[in-house]
Structures are given as structure tokens and as C-alpha cells.
Amino acid sequence: MPLVENGQIVQDRYRYAGDEEPIPGRVPVIVPAQRFLTDTDALIRRDGSLGVLWPNDRRIAELAPWLGHLALVALQFPKFRDGRAYSQARLLRETYGFRGTLRATGDVLRDQFHFLIRAGFDSFEVKKPADATAFVQAASRYSVVYQPTADGRVPALRRRVQRAAPSES
């Protein structure tokens, strides 16, 4: 499953650690939420980037106190149509101010890229290789947006009062 960051297919520096397996020192790891919550102190004291894989049916607010110790949060899309992690992502970015890497995992397809980026994701485990190749094209599909989000794009409502018209195509 290709990983896309900054518009390019990249090698994943992280490895996923299960609930039990020992974690070698300094290797960047992503641990499951339950392991993180049970073993928080040891994990955040460890030397090496730490990521947490957070389920989409658990309040993201629980993770808020630890965000300063996390280099990455991975959120889950068990199915294309299950969009709970979009809300979790926006809460992480906009309410809790998370600045680390926000990774989308699971059923991640081309037609979600625009929404995922706008919700604050910047790392994508893309299900199909062809979709990963088409990332840049799919991600730049829309030059006009109607909502303010953490991606900083200026929505039409505000651009209008700033009198900045888009070029017609």
C-alpha cells in the first residue's frame, strides 16, 4: 500500500507495533490506542518518534493531553463511506492545535483526497497504486472552496468580500 506525503510516494519511516511486541529503541513506531493509553509514560519517554493509531469510534478528546508528545496520529477509514475520522482530524488540527503528521489509513481512495487534505491530513496510506500516482491531479481538482478549515484556503464567502474574483476558465 503506497504512502503519499507532500504529493509524492514515499517510503514509510514508521513501523506499526502490535499490542504485545517489543519496540526497538529509536525506531519511529505507530502503536494502537489501547497500548498507548495503558503504557503512556514509557512510550512518551522513549527516544524515537511516536505515533498512535486512533479508532474512529473513540472520542479524540481523550488523546488531547498527549498531543505534545506525539509526532503522528493515524486515523482510520474502515470503509470509504465511514467519515467519522474527518471530524476527528478537524478537531485535532483546529480545536487541539495538533501540528504533527496526520495520517489517513484504511479505505483511502482517490476521490477522498480533496476532502482529506482539507480536513487536515498530510499523510495518506493509499489503497490503490493508481490512485497514489494520480494524487497531485486529484488533490488539485478544486480551485474554489466554500468552507474555512485548517488548510488555510480562503473560502468563497470571504474572497467575495475581499473582491478577489477567480479567473474564469
Binding site: R59, G83, F115, L116, Q147, R160, V161
Partner: protein, 552 residues
């Protein structure tokens, strides 16, 4: 009439390109039908019994004649020469080919129309009072707020994959003509004690197999906060609405399970954290949207001009049409004309391409180029000078759009039912057609007075049967079509769900049952000639049940 600007046009053009790419990936096999389904649904494309169906949004029910002519062209070019107006201010084309859909959408985009979010688990077309902007009783034009919300939820990155669909309606009057309480969320503009206008916010309404009326969770929301509050409600629903069972996935179930108070508290917590952020509606933003709604340049005219008075006196048929189909306008000398799409033996809501074209001509001549679409599946001309009514009536009559039955028993709301829909258990349209034939006599209909029949071909309730004065629901029993009858429902400011009167009856008996109910009402109504719905409210359903089942 809202005029699209360069931003709106650009976004729509980009959407068409994206859909064209999706269709070509489906046709090449790169996308499976399962993967394509949510993508086509987000563009209003359903796969029905016989063909693909395209549903096009008519935001807040306002159409320009340019748009209406384009719909006629789509009907002719890509469909079978007609379209079907739905109960949610949409129009559907039922016979469209997948490979031609991107072209049809590009043509629609050229007049600022689209099928975006007319299906799928996102925020659907925002609906309002079809008389918005012209009703004498509204406190301001609700369409400005509907448009602000429409833009905000269009391709919303967070709310495009919610547990289920989400329908929002906006009203601005103490009279509810938008069926607010049967929506997932409704906002009603009103004035508080201090004289400021703001919104009463209701959530959790919906019909289907578990009908609920929406409950008020915020009695007064300042206008500047409209978008942040909508965002807080949607965020709460997106995270906590059920996704394990499609029948329990609507927000009404979440509101019911948590209780309206607990739900409101959850929303309030979320809202407090975002209300003073980027979603605050600055007056300049609202003014900019309001400024792109165009209003007619009305002439200074008097009410009841002599030519109208004379025509009413001289022509009984005209007078009957006028009293049933024409309503007061907020500007003196003007009127709102409702056009029934319910001819005897017809399909409720159907309109031919020829009718659309001719109606567009009439709207240009008599209604400042504007047409409205209402949830009753009828159309309206919103700005007709009263002195023009006799001439307009003759011209409408020539194209079959001067039916006098508005709000009468044959003005039936109906879903497409088993004749088209893959979800249906039973036919709806033939039931409606038979009832219109039984009650074809206009004097008989007028004697029965205001009476709304709503028919749904399955429990999804697209025909809103729960809120019909007489509700008819098709069910399937051992492979045969049966129909449950409810009485006493209504979707106005005193919204009520109807009560089932007894066991379901077979297809062949439905029209007889309606005749029995009508006859019982004539016997039971009080001396003052109370309306059907008031008789049901006063005496309950028992006397009707007796009449209907005594002989069965």
C-alpha cells in the same frame, strides 16, 4: 433569484470534470460498481429498476426561465420528454444513460444547476417555503440563509460521508409551508422579545419507518452564528450517529436515544468552541449573498383591479380557479399563482418538455422570468400582476396547467413507487390516478374542501404519507400489494403524524376506502363546515375506522 458568480461557476465546472473522470473510470472498469456507487450518488445519480435516474437540485425552489428551458432541453435530449418534480424541490429524469450523464451535467452547469448532493450521505438540497420573498407573512427572505447554508455544506470536507442523508429546511414565517418539523434540521427565522431576528433551531425530524417530528434545541440563535451552529450539529451527528444499522442511522434516532436535551448539550459544547472562529457571518458576507438575489421591478398597482373583478363575475370556472390556485402577494396589485401538476389520471409532479418551454414563455411575460417549485409537487408563478390573471389563466389552460384542484383531494403528493423505484414495495402512481378519476367532479372536490392525500410506495416515505390528512402507505404481504391508511397527519406549523385506522387493504380497494372516508367526513363535519383535518382532530379516527371496516 440568486445569480451565480464566478466562484460558483468555477466550482461547478470543476465538479463536472471530476464526474466525467469518475464515469470514464467506471466505464473502463477501473472503478467497481461498489466503488462508483457513492461517487455517482453524490452527484444525484441513482440506479433504478429500468435505468439510471438523475436528480437535480432546485435550491429553495427558485427557477429562472433560462433554467426551466434547460430542463426542457435535458428532458428532450437525454430523457423521454418529461421530468418529475419531487417533494424536496428537486426534479428527476428517470431514463438517462450513464455515458451521457457527464454531458447532461455540463449543460446543467451552464445555467447554474447540478445534481450535487441530491443523494448520498451528505447534506441534501436546502429547501424553503416556495413563496419565499413574496409571501405577505414572512419576516424576511429565507432564501438568503438557505443559500449561505447551501454554499457552506457544498463539498464539505467533513460532512460528505455522514451516517446517513441530512435534510435541512429554512422558514421565515409563523405559517410553515416548508414542512420544517419533518426535517433532520430546520431553522425558522423569527423575532425575539427584543425585536432582533434569529433562528429557532429544530433537529431530529424525519419520516421513514420511525417517524419523529423535530424538536427545538435552540429557541433563538443569532444570525451571525447560523453556520457555526449548523457545523456543530453536523459534527455531533457525524461522530455519534449510528452506522451499524441503516434504519437507525438518521439523526432522529440519535436525538431520540440521547434525548433532545442531552443532544442539545453535546452540540452546545462543540458550538462554544467554534462559535467565535472562522464561521462567524460578518454583515458584509450576508449582504454580498443577499445582493445577488434579484427582485422584480414591480409596478405600482392596486389590488382587485376592475378587469379582474369583472372576469370573476362573468366566468364561474375562472372564479373557481382563482379562489383555489391564487394567493395574496406582499406587493399590492400582484398575486402568487400555483400551477397544479396533478391532472386527472396523471402522474403527480410530472411535467412535459413542451409544458416547461411554454411555461417559461408565460413566466417571462407574466412573472418576471421566475418559476417556483413546492414540496407539494406543484409549480408557482410568484409575481403575477392581478390584472393579467384572466389572460394568464387562458394561456395556462391551453397547456394543461390551469387545473383547479390545488389543495383539494385530487392534489395528491406521491412518490414514483414500484413503477420506477427499486426500493418500493407497491405502486403509488396508479393509486393516485384512480383517486383523481373517482373525484374528477370539481364541485364534489370543492365541497370536500382542503384535503391532502399523500402516498408512499414503501416505508421510506418519500410521499410523506405520515403527514397527509389521508396517508396511504404501500406494503407487501405474501407477494401482493396492500396499503395502510392513516388519518390526521399534517406538515404545517402544527405538524402531526397521522394515526393508522386499521388493517391494510388490498390494491383494488384503496380508492373505495378513500371514498368511504370522504363520505364519512361529509356526514360528520360540524354545521360550520369545518375542514376535514379539523373533523379528524375533533372526533378522532374511530368513526372513520367504523365506516371503512364495517363493510370489509
Amino acid at each position: 433569484m440568486y445569480i451565480y458568480d464566478a466562484f460558483d461557476r468555477r466550482l461547478l465546472a470543476e465538479r463536472v470534470l471530476e464526474f466525467r473522470d469518475q464515469v470514464s473510470r467506471r466505464l473502463s472498469g477501473e472503478l467497481s460498481e461498489e466503488e462508483f456507487k457513492p461517487l455517482r450518488l453524490m452527484n444525484g445519480v441513482y440506479l433504478q429498476l429500468h435505468a439510471y435516474m438523475l436528480r437535480i437540485a432546485i435550491p429553495y425552489g427558485t427557477l429562472s426561465t433560462l433554467q426551466l428551458r434547460k430542463l426542457a432541453e435535458i428532458a428532450r435530449k437525454y430523457d423521454r420528454g418529461y421530468g418529475h418534480f419531487t417533494t424536496r424541490q428537486n426534479i428527476q429524469f428517470h431514463w438517462i444513460k450513464l455515458a451521457e450523464l457527464p454531458d447532461a451535467m455540463a449543460e446543467l452547469a451552464s445555467v447554474g444547476m447540478h445534481g450535487m448532493q441530491t443523494s448520498g450521505n451528505n447534506v441534501r438540497n436546502i429547501t424553503t417555503d416556495q413563496w419565499a420573498g413574496v409571501a405577505p407573512d414572512e419576516i424576511e427572505d429565507p432564501r438568503i440563509w438557505a443559500e449561505l447554508i447551501r454554499q457552506h455544506v457544498t463539498l464539505h470536507p467533513e460532512f460528505s460521508f455522514m451516517p446517513r442523508k441530512f435534510k435541512i429546511a429554512v422558514g421565515a414565517s409563523h405559517r410553515d409551508r416548508a414542512a420544517l418539523r419533518i426535517h433532520d434540521m430546520a431553522l425558522r427565522l423569527h423575532r425575539n422579545a427584543a425585536g432582533e431576528t434569529g433562528f429557532e433551531v429544530m433537529v431530529g425530524g424525519g419520516l421513514g419507518r420511525t417517524p419523529y417530528l423535530a424538536q427545538t434545541i435552540k429557541p433563538f440563535l443569532p444570525k451571525r452564528d447560523a453556520l457555526s451552529y449548523v457545523e456543530a450539529v453536523l459534527r455531533t451527528y457525524n461522530q455519534f450517529g449510528r452506522r451499524d444499522n441503516i434504519w437507525k442511522a438518521r439523526i432522529k434516532i440519535l436525538v431520540h436515544d440521547l434525548g433532545a436535551e442531552a443532544f442539545a448539550k453535546e452540540v452546545e459544547g462543540e458550538w462554544q468552541s467554534i462559535k467565535d472562529g472562522a464561521l462567524v457571518l460578518e454583515p458584509a458576507m450576508v449582504a454580498d449573498i443577499a445582493g445577488r438575489f434579484r427582485y422584480p421591478d414591480y409596478k405600482k398597482l392596486d389590488d382587485s383591479p376592475p378587469e379582474l373583478v369583472a372576469a370573476r363575475r362573468n366566468d364561474r370556472v375562472f372564479d373557481a380557479w382563482l379562489s383555489n390556485c391564487v394567493t395574496n402577494h406582499k406587493v399590492p396589485g400582484y398575486a402568487i399563482v400555483t400551477l397544479s401538476l396533478k391532472p386527472e389520471g396523471g402522474t403527480p409532479g410530472d411535467c412535459t418538455a413542451a409544458q416547461m418551454d411554454k411555461l417559461a414563455d408565460l413566466a417571462d411575460r407574466y412573472s418576471f422570468g421566475e418559476v417556483r417549485v413546492g414540496h407539494e409537487q406543484n409549480l408557482a408563478l410568484p409575481h403575477v400582476a392581478q390584472r393579467d390573471l384572466p389572460a394568464l389563466w387562458r394561456e395556462l389552460d391551453a397547456i394543461g396547467l390551469a387545473q383547479t384542484n390545488v389543495n383539494l383531494i385530487s392534489d395528491i403528493i406521491s412518490c414514483p413507487g414500484l413503477d420506477y423505484c427499486s426500493l418500493a414495495n407497491a405502486r403509488s402512481i396508479p393509486i393516485a390516478q384512480e383517486i383523481t378519476r373517482r373525484f374528477h367532479d370539481l364541485d364534489r372536490q370543492r365541497n370536500l374542501g382542503r384535503l391532502h392525500i399523500n402516498i408512499s410506495g414503501c416505508i421510506n416515505a418519500c410521499g410523506h404519507h405520515h403527514v397527509g390528512h389521508i396517508g396511504i402507505l404501500g406494503v407487501e404481504k405474501n407477494g401482493e400489494e396492500f396499503y395502510q391508511i392513516t388519518l390526521g397527519g399534517k406538515a404545517d406549523e402544527n405538524a402531526t403524524l397521522g394515526t393508522l385506522i386499521g388493517p391494510a387493504v388490498p390494491y383494488a380497494q384503496v380508492a373505495d376506502v378513500v371514498e368511504d372516508i370522504a363520505a364519512a367526513y361529509l356526514d360528520l363535519r360540524d354545521q360550520a363546515g369545518e375542514l376535514f383535518i379539523d373533523t379528524v382532530k375533533r372526533i378522532g379516527i374511530e368513526p372513520f375506522r367504523e365506516r371503512v371496516y364495517a363493510a370489509r
